[in-house]
Symmetry: C2
């Protein structure tokens, strides 16, 4: 399902590719990563920029006891600045959830590219801003939201992000995630994720098939539960072409 976004000109990389010839080069030379591969470990030395061409990645942090929190999902067209304030180490564990293709760009090169193309710089700014807005929304819900709100929000957030990659919101969409992963993303136990999603299904708000293919039946109800206005959220968390 995700394999069809391999060319730069389509899918999530549109904005970036339009902006810079060099990005297209990087996209072509992206390296293939197997699902499940850990690309970076929290604490590693690493100071490069990661460009996702295709597939889903997750960035997460965890405690020694193994409890993990997914910080963000990184989708095609996203850019990850994983480096800490010290400029030399990373504070995230980065893992490929599906098979993926990523380009790893040295900061030096990256900076040169940004300087060379104001369009690219603007696009990148938007992408970072969108990521930050997403994080703020999620922080709000982790701090103050109920389980149904967190789940509803996660579904809407991901479906909007997929939409901006060219998927249709009316359609069923596939999340390459276990309920455990959704729990790690929303700060809930997998059991409670299940309960909560089942409840949404029983109320005919969403429909699931194959356990994790989701279709939104009642968008109004779902956004009510999530505590958002869909148009507004889309503006916030989707990078607009500059």
């Amino acid at each position: 399902m995700w394999q069809d976004q391999t060319r730069c000109a389509q899918g999530g990389m549109t904005a970036l590719c339009a902006a810079s010839e060099q990005i297209r080069t990087f996209a072509r030379t992206a390296q293939q990563i197997r699902a499940g591969t850990v690309i970076l470990q929290d604490g590693d030395e690493f100071d490069k920029v990661i460009l996702v061409v295709d597939g889903w990645l997750s960035s997460s942090k965890s405690f020694e006891d193994g409890e993990a929190q997914i910080i963000d999902f990184i989708l095609p067209g996203d850019i990850l600045y994983a480096t800490n304030g010290d400029g030399t180490t990373v504070g995230l564990t980065l893992e490929a959830i599906t098979d993926a293709r990523v380009s790893i760009v040295p900061v030096r090169t990256w900076q040169t590219m940004l300087k060379a193309s104001p369009d690219l710089a603007r696009a990148v700014g938007r992408i970072r801003a969108a990521a930050q807005a997403r994080t703020s929304e999620r922080l709000l819900r982790l701090g103050k939201g109920s389980a149904p709100m967190r789940i509803a929000f996660a579904i809407l957030e991901l479906s909007l992000r997929l939409r901006s990659l060219g998927h249709d919101m009316e359609e069923t969409f596939h999340l390459p995630l276990t309920q455990k992963a959704i729990g790690d993303y929303t700060g809930l136990s997998s059991v409670h994720v299940c309960r909560t999603m089942r409840r949404l299904v029983r109320h005919n708000i969403i429909e699931t098939s194959d356990h994790i293919d989701i279709r939104i039946l009642d968008l109004a109800a779902l956004s009510e539960i999530a505590g958002i206005d869909v148009e507004r959220l889309e503006q916030e968390i989707t990078p607009t072409a500059a």
Copy 2:
């Protein structure tokens, strides 16, 4: 207490000021803001960059019912990119917690400055990276951490940030925050903030005076509870001079 960081050459602006003459100019022309002033409202049109010269700000989001979550505290030397992915609106409410001084820089100007000074660009990159690392740590704790962990972490995080502004960690430090605000930051009710802090006091881990002047008595125990290694956290969340 915070009024002594008014000149650019000292306090939190050191890194930035060292990097660029123009920043010094901005710092000198910073505008004075009264404690309690709401500088930006979630949803406002705004696309500038905000530089904090002096004082504490908070960025927050809230639900219609008034439940608020503080996304971050913004301290002297910090830079706030508040704009959403659409490039025109903000997704945060920005408020001055104490009297403050901030410079508001148009993106255009800002970009020019960054281009002109690679040192400044690097410093800004570090500052943004530090902010992101902070957010990740907090996301982890909001999702998976207990109340004591969240409180201990907040205390340590803020004391480290103050340390990087020149305060001494051994000393008592003042947080210009009510327990309600700490709750909004940690995703807890003010009552539970109180309970939890009292417990830390009873165990001689911290000491409080005037309700919210804090002194860390047992750093080892506190970082144990917070689930961190102090040195490591400091590297992550403190922007290193480039």
